[in-house]
């Protein structure tokens, strides 16, 4: 049972990696190095202190009076350990400051600029482009090209959130009415899971994101697809599904570019089927899960802003058919 759970955890981890111990970018590598240095230094010290303690316990106590404690040998030991502690702490301090500087030294020129806005409980992701027509909006999944620096401009629409993809960098807070930035680079392709790292309310735990690092050509193809407006419905069912979307509560909060739905309260659904998960990493993006989510999101992610939608079965099916076509 426990083994099974352990295997499950490993498998999920291999699908979307979230670990400080497997760095995939220069900054995470620096942080990982610092972690190693601190772990081994303090680990060795811990073992030495314990050995000395045990030796003290083991040695037979001499029947002496306290005045014999003032011998020169004891003084030497005290001085030596104070000097050693100072030197070690100072070395760790220098290592820590050096890593702090190294992680913020990445050259952001010739890179990508991505605006990330935190919401309770999901992430709006916008790619800044000099041409307005090439500006794209998506949610919760951030594609980046391998080997190119990416500047994340972080802000929040409600409370403080924190952006943390441990394989690539440390944490950075998203503050309401203020912009923060974080520059990172992924050197290995892969899917890196990230998580909100500042308690932000009821569903803080279900506020995940994914950074998908891929080769430049693959990234360009993804980008070109995202720039396009939503696919026109083809089948009769899809046409009906679009009508359901536009005539019910969906249209009050969501955008599907190319239709009349232009609201910005919830995630952009123009290419919803191009994403692997829904509800900020809560569920896999499959028809059944999506149907359950639309019918009653409160039973899956209690407190989420999206209300339950009591649709007729044929309406729900048509709506799902349409959303599944938005690749």
């Amino acid at each position: 049972m426990r083994l099974g759970a352990a295997i499950m955890v490993t498998m999920t981890a291999s699908a979307a990696d979230q670990s400080v111990l497997r760095p995939s970018g220069p900054q995470a590598a620096h942080i990982h190095w610092l972690w190693d240095v601190m772990l081994w230094t303090t680990g060795v010290i811990y073992v030495v202190v314990l050995l000395v303690l045990f030796a003290g316990v083991w040695r037979r106590r001499k029947a002496t009076d306290p005045t014999t404690m003032t011998d020169a040998k004891l003084e030497k030991y005290v001085i030596a350990s104070v000097v050693a502690s100072t030197v070690i702490f100072f070395a760790l301090l220098i290592a820590s400051v050096a890593v702090g500087k190294a992680t913020s030294d990445l050259d952001a020129r010739n890179g990508l600029i991505v605006n990330v806005t935190g919401y309770q409980w999901w992430w709006r992701v916008e790619y800044v482009h000099p041409e307005p027509a090439q500006y794209i909006t998506t949610a919760n999944e951030i594609h980046i090209p391998v080997g190119r620096p990416v500047t994340f401009v972080l802000t929040s629409s409600d409370v403080i959130h924190s952006f943390w993809a441990p394989n690539l960098h440390g944490k950075r807070d998203l503050l309401p009415n203020q912009k923060n930035s974080l520059v990172l680079r992924a050197d290995k392709p892969g899917v890196y899971r990230g998580q909100c790292a500042e308690f932000c309310g009821l569903q803080h735990a279900k506020m995940a994101f994914a950074i998908i690092a891929e080769p430049q050509e693959k990234f360009d193809a993804w980008y070109a697809n995202q720039v396009k407006p939503a696919a026109e419905p083809v089948t009769e069912e899809q046409v009906k599904g679009r009508d359901v979307f536009l005539s019910h509560a969906c249209v009050m909060c969501h955008t599907i570019r190319g239709t009349q739905a232009n609201a910005r309260l919830g995630p952009d659904l123009t290419h919803i089927k191009s994403r692997a998960t829904i509800a900020a990493g809560t569920l896999p993006n499959e028809k059944g899960h999506l149907g359950g989510w639309i019918s009653n999101p409160q039973s899956i992610k209690q407190g989420v802003r999206m209300p339950p939608n009591p649709l007729m079965p044929d309406e729900l099916n048509a709506l799902l058919g349409y959303l599944e076509s938005l690749k």
Partner: protein, 174 residues
């Protein structure tokens, strides 16, 4: 002796439990239910038999959490686009004592559901019922018609007027 030491804490705990209902959060709201009676009297003048004047208990008139949700929805659904922060602009003011289509919760509910001439859109098919009731309670709080411990006492952004909890009660004229 020990009890005497505990007494103030017990009193505080008791008072605390009284406020629980005020903050109660419900996440699985009944969605289709709780539409008000069909014929709501909109104006004092009407043909045929006079409809009785009604006084409905709005579902969220006593729930501070729901009223705050209403406040959030008021800006999310762009009510403030026309009514502004209650002072009115393109749409009528909501913080005064004048109600063109009635001040009763059921009247406000129908106004939001059906829409009204000269610009008020119909939101009936677009917003779940429970959110409309949250908006109704919030709209009533703007002219001081809710209890001050239920009405919102602060705003997230700068406001030109006092918070809803401090608004003077405007007795509706009709």
């Amino acid at each position: 002796m020990f009890l005497r030491f505990l007494r103030p804490y017990l009193i505080v705990a008791l008072v605390g439990t009284c406020a629980c209902e005020r903050e109660q959060r419900q996440f699985n709201e009944p969605t289709a239910a709780s539409a008000p009676v069909q014929s709501v009297r909109l104006t004092p003048q009407q043909p045929g038999p006079q409809l009785p004047e009604i006084a409905t208990d709005a579902p969220y008139a006593e729930n501070a959490y729901a009223v705050n949700e209403g406040k959030k929805l008021y800006s999310s659904y762009n009510c403030e686009g026309c009514h502004f922060m209650g002072g009115g602009g393109m749409g009528p003011a909501l913080m005064d004592d004048r109600w063109i289509y009635g001040s009763d919760p059921a009247n406000i509910f129908q106004t939001i559901v059906q829409g009204r001439p000269n610009g008020m859109p119909s939101f009936g098919s677009k917003i779940p019922r429970y959110q409309i009731w949250q908006l109704v309670s919030y709209v009533r709080s703007m002219s001081g018609l809710l209890k001050s411990d239920v009405a919102p006492s602060r705003s997230d952004s700068m406001h030109a007027r006092a918070p809803e909890a401090m608004m003077k009660q405007e007795i509706p004229k009709q």
